[in-house]
Structure formats: C-alpha cells, structure tokens
C-alpha cells in the first residue's frame, strides 16, 4: 500500500505541476503587456534594467522548471514517477513546439521589420517570451490530457 501511495502522491503532484505550468505561462505572457506599455524595452534607466533583468530571470526559471520537471523538494522515487517516459515524451514534444513558436515569432518579426523598426532587444524579448511560454502550455496540455479517460 505504501508504494500505491507513492503513485498517488506522484499523480497529485504531476497534476498540480501541469496546472501551475499553465498558470505561470499565462502570467508570463500577460506580464509582457507591462513591459510593452511601460516602455522598459526602450529605456536605459536603472528601473528599466531591473524590469528586463526580472523578465530574464523569470524566463530562465521557467525554462529550468520545464527542463527538470520543476520538482525538487520530493523524494527520488516520487520524482522518478513524475518524470517517467510519458513525461519525457511530453517534454520533447513541448520543446519542439517551443522551437516552432520561436520560428513563427522570428518570421513574424522579420515581416514586421519591413514596416516598423524592431530593435534587437525587442526581437529577442519576443522570441524568448514565446519560446518559453509555448512549451510550458503544450506540456501542461499533454500532461492533463494523459490523465483523461482513466
């Protein structure tokens, strides 16, 4: 029974992880309106650098969470169950979607740059933002779908 409890605990945490990843991705995308409206991408002030630094750390944290499974404070057995071969497959698919999201953003910016000047910082910001949020959303969707029809 103890081991079945382990499977149950891993399931509970995996479902929570999927929900949290989706919320974080949406919040991360939503926060971009703050950067755009505040003009932080164009300013050269200490506050603007702080905002950009916070955004970069946020993106980095989300990518590390995606790459590692985002679970550090549980036992090795639970972590193993939460990152079994289905999860690894979902992560691979999600990262592939991240690649295509970055390509689509790149093409979109390239097209846009013919009509409006796009700075390097703006372009990188958009590519990294969509390249971070897209795989998190796809991973979350795949994980939640995997528990359906149980």
């Amino acid at each position: 029974m103890r081991e079945v409890g382990l499977v149950g605990k891993a399931e509970r945490l995996a479902k929570r992880r999927a929900r949290v990843f989706a919320v974080l991705a949406v919040a991360f995308l939503g926060l971009q309106t703050v950067y755009i409206s505040s003009g932080a991408l164009h300013e050269n002030t200490a506050l603007a650098h702080f905002k950009i630094g916070a955004w970069a750390l946020n993106a980095l944290g989300l990518l590390i969470a995606l790459a590692t499974g985002g679970v550090f404070l549980t036992g090795r057995d639970v972590r193993h169950l939460m990152n079994d071969e289905t999860t690894l497959a979902h992560r691979r698919i999600a990262i592939a979607w991240g690649f295509w999201a970055m390509m689509a953003t790149g093409f979109g910016l390239y097209f846009l740059s013919q009509f409006e000047a796009v700075t390097t910082r703006e372009a990188l910001h958009m590519v990294i933002t969509f390249g971070t949020a897209a795989p998190l959303l796809v991973f979350s969707y795949l994980e939640r779908r995997a528990y359906r029809d149980a």
Partner: protein, 68 residues
C-alpha cells in the same frame, strides 16, 4: 512504419484484478503512463513493454500487436 500499436493491456490488467495504480506501482511508472498506453495514446518503450509483460505474467506479443 506503424505509428500505432494495438494492445490488450486493459484486459490483461483487469484479468489480474489490478487497478491502473496497482500496475503503475508494480511497473515503476506513473498511472498516467498506464492510462495513455491503454488508450493507445502513447507507444511504450521496449523496456516498459517487457516490464508490463513480466508484471502481468504474459508475453509482449500477447499485450501488443501491430495493426493489420
């Protein structure tokens, strides 16, 4: 190349009186993996297929078949 795999994992599992969680625990995977394999959403690795066959005391060929 086949991208889908027919399986009778659910039948074999219920014949043994096991829940998805029971089988997951014995195979060392999450219930999500058992669920997706049973539903044909996920094609298991060779190692997992062999493990499931061992746990259910049957053969891999009995559990998984290529579509006709």
């Amino acid at each position: 190349m086949h991208e889908r795999l027919n399986n009778r994992l659910r039948d074999a599992r219920t014949a043994k009186g096991l829940t998805q969680a029971d089988l997951a625990e014995r195979a060392g995977v999450s219930r999500k993996t058992i669920n997706t394999v049973e539903n044909g959403v996920f094609v298991p690795s060779t190692i997992l297929a062999l493990t499931l066959a061992r746990v259910l005391e049957t053969s891999v060929e009995d559990l998984f078949q290529l579509p006709e």
